[in-house]
């Protein structure tokens, strides 16, 4: 089990923590598809690994979580802070290389006051690259637990939400 306790989903002002490029499809309360184009312009690929660049699995989880987290957040008009809480299941099937376009698909399984869950896949073309179940919790600004999380920004602030704008302009 891959358990990311209270990992922060959207930490946007410290660095550009945006791991999807554009939504291809967004069906409120149901499912979403987003694309992430993998390019050698990304520094991290030169370290992972030198001479053999592959998209890190952890960042694919982040991309799936961002796709699913926005899908969940939109159900409540982004009133809640959505935090990636747990990845009960994740399986990686193959490698993703520079030049690949990753397509993340998230299906909303649960959405309630306390949080929600999604089922995600990642494909390159027809090839299944990864699949994951992801659980999110909601925190509100007045939640006492908020102070225990040492991050300033993990809401759907302008950085990640710009993905929405890009998608809207393309349609």
């Amino acid at each position: 089990m891959f358990d990311v306790q209270c990992s922060l989903l959207f930490n946007l002002h410290v660095m550009r923590w945006i791991w999807i490029d554009r939504f291809l499809e967004f069906e409120s309360g149901s499912h979403a598809r987003a694309v992430k184009n993998v390019t050698l312009a990304e520094d991290h690929l030169h370290d992972h690994f030198p001479g053999f660049p592959v998209m890190p699995a952890s960042l694919m989880i982040e991309g799936m979580a961002q796709t699913g987290g926005i899908l969940l957040g939109e159900v409540n008009q982004f009133r809640h802070i959505v935090i990636l809480a747990k990845v009960p299941k994740v399986v990686f099937h193959s490698l993703v290389r520079p030049g690949d376009s990753l397509i993340y698909t998230a299906k909303l399984l649960d959405a309630r006051d306390e949080g929600g869950s999604v089922e995600c896949t990642a494909h390159v073309g027809e090839r299944l690259v990864a699949e994951a179940d992801i659980v999110f919790v909601h925190l509100d600004q007045n939640d006492p637990q908020l102070g225990r999380i040492d991050q300033k920004n993990f809401v759907f602030s302008s950085g990640l939400m710009s993905v929405f704008d890009i998608s809207a302009h393309e349609q």
Binding site: M1, D3, Q5, A85, K86, P88, R112, E114, S117
Partner: protein, 129 residues
């Protein structure tokens, strides 16, 4: 209505999936936190899975109430749950074994009320009716 054994088997499967434990660890007496290693976030995951596996709706706080003794300062004295606190626990956790907890009612033992058996009893009531 499914039998208690049938409910237990499904609860066992649910907890194996949610907590990554072996099925022989999931006994009726096992505590979710102490024995099975559940953390706070796992409770929400367990609720999601139980809803799906049993096709029921579990309202927030009905199976796993939060802040059990926070409502009234008289519920706890010197780290021990008082008679009034025990009454509150019985009221909010009708499927838990509060009677045994009363033998050593330290606040830190409250989490031991959340057992596999408690979930099974809760679902028995829910599915029965």
């Amino acid at each position: 209505m499914p039998t208690r054994d049938e409910i237990f088997a499904k609860v066992q499967e649910t907890l194996v999936d949610a907590l990554g434990v072996d099925d022989d660890e999931v006994t009726p007496e096992a505590t979710l936190v102490g024995d099975l290693g559940a953390e706070s976030i796992d409770f929400l995951d367990i609720v999601f899975r139980l809803e799906k596996n049993f096709d029921v709706k579990i309202p927030r706080g009905e199976l796993f109430p939060e802040n059990l003794t926070a409502a009234d300062p008289s519920f706890v004295q010197d780290g021990v749950v008082t008679e009034a606190g025990l009454a509150e626990l019985k009221n909010r956790l009708p499927h838990a074994d509060v009677h045994s907890f009363a033998d050593d009612p330290k606040v830190e033992n409250i989490q031991d009320l959340f057992t596999v058996g408690m979930i099974v009893k809760y679902l028995e009531t829910k599915l029965g009716g």
